[in-house]
């Protein structure tokens, strides 16, 4: 997890295009300036960043299902639950599943666990559009390597 680059997941651990599911993991940094403010003397992973972790997990699934031709943008959240505090150093396991592939949008659900216990969950809707420019698409393609995106799964899917 590289909070300073808004990279909320470390790697994709499983991607199943047939089942339309994805699994990722991320280690919450032991130290970050974020924890100086959230909160002094009681550092906690901010809930909005847990939501972003789920959105990035589900987002990579949508990118994969669209074979890097289209980009998901966060549009709506429902049924968001932040069940437990997540502390620095925690290992987050995240999963996502496509609920619906609409015309120009996708509805997904995602959840995060720490040591097998659910810490967060949400239904996440994305607007899905062609990449606005080639630079953005190239960035995402390169970014995919940093999160161990299994490109062979898309090539063979």
């Amino acid at each position: 997890m590289r909070l300073e680059y808004f990279q909320l997941i470390d790697r994709i651990t499983a991607l199943n295009l047939a089942e339309k599911t994805i699994n990722t993991e991320a280690i919450v940094p032991a130290e970050s300036t974020i924890f100086e403010g959230h909160f002094p003397g009681y550092p906690l992973m901010p809930g909005v960043l847990l939501i972003e972790s789920m959105a990035q997990t589900a987002g990579w699934l949508v990118v994969a299902l669209n074979k890097f031709e289209r980009m998901p943008f966060l549009a709506a959240l429902k049924e968001v639950k932040l069940r437990t505090f997540v502390q620095p150093g925690a290992r987050l396991s995240l999963s996502g599943r496509l609920l619906h592939d609409g015309s120009g949008f996708a509805v997904t659900e995602a959840q995060g666990t720490v040591e097998g216990k659910t810490v967060c969950e949400a239904e996440i809707t994305f607007r899905v559009t062609p990449f606005p420019n080639s630079e953005f698409r190239r960035f995402m393609t390169e970014f995919a390597d940093r999160v161990a995106f299994p490109k062979e799964a898309v090539a063979n899917g």
Binding site: A75, A76, G102
Partner: protein, 94 residues
Amino acid sequence: MSSTFDTVANIIAETCDIERDKIKPESHAIDDLGIDSLDFLDIAFAIDKAFGIKLPLEQWTQEVNDGKATTEQYFVLKNLCERIDSLVAAKGAA
């Protein structure tokens, strides 16, 4: 069409918290009911699920933006319901 309209009207009422009685076949989803594009994603999701179809929203939007169609053709509810019926029929014929 009437049952299609009832289903769509109920979806809109529930999704957008609009009184069911205010939703008429002649209602324009945007101009009369004030439904914005984000709310319409929820409605489209519910319609897609209810009818087992995929509303071609991107195509419709493109046609409106290109001046090839009017929003009335797609977003007046009786017209929307006719298009839903056509999509359901096309799916059944496939």
